[in-house]
């Protein structure tokens, strides 16, 4: 490189360095990272809420202060109630989800793989799906009694449909061009499923599992509100009966935390399974 060229390069570099990168101008001239932005509203609401409660401007039996809700949670934990109720609810969700997702997987795989099974089963399942699931509650109670079975059945039903639908549709939409590659290399039906179809449907299947898990949490609330002697839903009803708003709010927080945590776990498992694929 000649000296003239080097000089030109330096001059050019200098020119570009003079233009400083502009920070994202989101609040006037103050720069706030995006992660912090999301916290502004909830923290402000909590602070205002706490302040109003402390000033006696909110009726404590309707809307207790956040710190009171926190204390209630702590007391529940110390007394062992938290572990008992949360444990019951988590067990219900786990069992219901396991049953529902398994049934959804089997039905989805069957209808996705065999067109004849889809033609026979899918209309019925779609018709059943259009019934609001809570509408099954009286029947479940009549058949299975007020004990665990009816709750588990309701949760399973909630988890079933998203898993079934996602898997069935995904299996039907596996790229026929990839299946042709399998045919070219003379894969058996079993190898086709294991080596092409299953990996191909995995992303949609995981989406189905995640929505199924979300619905399982929704349905456990319904099941426990409708009649239970333990569980976080029962805690809510108990809070309502005894006029303790703090217990109800604490239960809401517990549902939010558990729901979010299990969803995050499922997502992490999914990401691990999908590994290095292009998004």
């Amino acid at each position: 490189m000649t000296t003239a060229e080097q000089n030109r390069r330096l001059a050019w570099k200098g020119a570009s360095a003079e233009r400083k990168p502009q920070p994202p101008d989101n609040l006037g001239r103050i720069y706030i990272p995006d992660r912090v932005l999301g916290w502004i509203i909830p923290v402000t609401v909590l602070l205002v809420w706490e302040l109003l409660a402390r000033l006696g401007m909110l009726p404590p039996n309707w809307l207790p202060a956040p710190t009171v809700v926190g204390q209630t949670l702590y007391q529940l934990a110390v007394a062992g109630d938290l572990l008992k109720h949360a444990g019951t609810t988590i067990a219900r969700v786990a069992l219901g989800f396991l049953l529902g997702a398994t049934a959804g997987t089997l039905a989805g795989a069957l209808t996705g793989y065999l067109p004849i099974a889809r033609k026979m089963l899918d209309p019925t399942l779609q018709a059943l799906r259009s019934v609001p699931s809570i509408a099954w509650v009286p029947l479940f109670l009549l058949w299975l009694g007020i004990e665990e079975s009816s709750k588990i059945a309701l949760i399973s039903l909630g988890a079933f449909f998203p898993v079934y639908l996602n898997l069935s549709v995904a299996m039907r939409h596996v790229d026929p061009k990839l299946l042709e590659v399998g045919k070219l290399y003379r894969l058996s039906s079993f190898q086709m499923v294991r080596r092409i179809i299953l990996p191909a449907v995995l992303p949609e299947y995981i989406v189905g599992l995640r929505s199924g898990l979300g619905l399982a949490w929704m349905f456990v609330v319904a099941a426990e509100l409708l009649g239970a002697s333990s569980g976080i839903g029962y805690l809510m009803v108990d809070g309502e009966m005894t006029g303790r708003a703090a217990v109800i709010l604490a239960s809401v927080i517990l549902f939010a935390v558990f729901g979010k945590t299990t969803d995050w776990m499922m997502n992490a498992i999914g990401r691990r399974l999908l590994g290095h694929r292009a998004r």
């Binding site: 061009k177 590659v181 070219l184 290399y185 003379r186 894969l187 080596r195 290095h276 694929r277 292009a278």
Partner: protein, 270 residues
């Protein structure tokens, strides 16, 4: 049957009387009276416009289309269905996005039992073909990390790993950019010379056909028939600007656009 295939394997004898697809207004005749004999180790390009049945012809040889009148023989043995004696490369790479380059190439052996091909043999063959297509450094990358040309190289390695006698390519470079396409054309010649397989390559690019082939099979549509077979006796590597090369390109072009031929062609080279 002739016995030209005795010295080397990979002779293809195509005798297709009739191939039709079901259309909304009755059957559509895709191929009619196709008679073609390909010598072992020969490089044949099939050129024609869209709808001339050239892809259907390739799919019949591959064993992906089995519903037709006629027969295809490989080394005097009648073919039925797909088999590892033929390797296929499509226009799209058709790689499995969840497998590495290594495993995608190995997929070409997925239908073989461990008795038919041992684990060590598999690894050795996979490595061999990854090296042959020049992707050593990318053995453990995933398809989305590869360029179009690299993906097509993986597809070629996958097609070859079962050590086929015939390599079938269906417009393999059509979706690549012009420079990559020219490089891949040189590459496929190099691979062909290294492997000594018979090659049938379908294309709509006249220059590509003349550059690559020992013989250019010109097809015309409705119904798909062989219009002419033109031998290319130029030595390789061929010069695309050579007088004889240009003359051959012109004669393939004339053959395609001759009166009666209704092929729609990409003829921007003229």
């Amino acid at each position: 049957m002739d016995n030209r295939g005795f010295a080397q394997r990979g002779s293809v004898d195509i005798q297709i009387a009739h191939k039709a697809f079901a259309g909304s207004k009755g059957p559509l005749v895709a191929l009619k009276d196709i008679l073609l004999t390909i010598d072992p180790g020969e490089f044949v390009c099939v050129v024609g416009g869209s709808g001339c049945g050239k892809t259907t012809l390739l799919r019949i040889i591959a064993g992906l289309e089995t519903d037709y009148e006629g027969a295809v023989f490989l080394d005097d043995k009648q073919l039925s269905g797909t088999g590892l004696d033929r390797g296929v490369v499509f226009q799209e790479h058709r790689l499995l996005s969840w497998l590495t380059v290594h495993d995608n190439v190995g997929f070409g052996l997925a239908g073989l039992t461990p008795q038919e091909r041992s684990q060590e043999d598999r690894s050795r063959d996979i490595r061999h073909y990854i090296t042959l297509v020049g992707l050593d450094e990318f053995e453990y990358e995933y398809p989305h990390q590869l360029s179009g040309g690299m993906s097509q190289r993986v597809a070629i390695a996958r097609a070859l790993v079962g050590r086929p006698e015939v390599l079938l390519l269906d417009e393999p470079f059509a979706s690549l950019d012009a420079l990559t396409r020219m490089r891949m054309q040189q590459e496929i010649l190099r691979i062909w010379q290294a492997e000594r397989t018979t090659v049938v390559l379908v294309t709509h690019d006249i220059e590509e056909a003349v550059y690559l082939a020992d013989r250019v099979v010109v097809m015309s549509p409705q119904p798909g028939t062989i219009r002419n077979v033109l031998p290319v006796r130029l030595p390789r590597p061929r010069d695309r600007t050579d007088r004889e090369f240009v003359r051959l390109r012109r004669s393939v072009h004339d053959e395609l656009f001759a009166p009666g031929a209704t092929a729609h062609l990409v003829a921007d080279n003229f």
